[in-house]
Symmetry: C2
Subunit: 134 residues, 2 copies
Amino acid sequence: MNGRFPIALHIMTLLCSAEGLLSSEYMAGSINVNSVLVRKELSNLIKNKLVSSQEGKNGGYTLARPAAQITLAEIYETVKPEAVLGQAKNQPNPACPIGKQINQHITELYIDVDKVLMQKLGNTTLLAFVAKFN
Amino acid sequence: MNGRFPIALHIMTLLCSAEGLLSSEYMAGSINVNSVLVRKELSNLIKNKLVSSQEGKNGGYTLARPAAQITLAEIYETVKPEAVLGQAKNQPNPACPIGKQINQHITELYIDVDKVLMQKLGNTTLLAFVAKFN
DNA sequence: TTGTACTGTAATAAAAATTATTACAAATAA
DNA sequence: TTATTTGTAATAATTTTTATTACAGTACAA
């Protein structure tokens, strides 16, 4: 697993608590990662309609919708990996009766786990998450 | 995220459906990864009392307890990463009011998510998981 | 209309994590 | 006592992640 979700959440938190537009440079300063990485993640958030941007001088980024209407599930959705609990890159032996079937059963398990996870994350709005900050 | 959980689950599934002892070499053949990696994961499963081993010729591995008494939560526990939904390696800017606090709030969120996840995985025994195989 | 400060994105490099390989000591069955 | 297996360390190869550099395009503002 990588750091995409924490970074996306950090971005969304910053945007939620900001007045106007924020630049990727400013956010990179708060998160403490490279600004190109921030813009890449923002580009992804824009594609998913959670953020909107304004190009040009004095441009920047802002939430596309009210924070009360955005859940953590939607944010996670934008960075969600193929496999919730990890994906091995091996190809199990098709000649083995277990190896032949295991990927299918893991996939089914992951679908169930994902459901539970999304339900949990869907319970918290971005606004509620940010409200916890002092 | 890495492939440790699928591999650990594959190991446990093989052991569950086996009669006697299985060698790491055999399991590596089914999983299709290096046998040293399998032994490393087995070593971890042994440390967590889910597997026991027998050294020497004709040695191998077997479940330490009946599969009906082992849940997927216990298996996940043995490979669980620090951060369920990913960990960024950045150190957020302590001079930023958001950056200063975000890690604490992410940690709290992760504790909640972990609870839900473990509950879900705790509902399925290894025996039940393996029963799905044809 | 020109300079400045942004976004957007590609290409590449650096760093970190994961997996594979090699090697060998120790155990135990035959 | 030989063969087979676990246990583990050291190292190499591969893959993934993150950083850096570069620059085109947009829009504001003097």
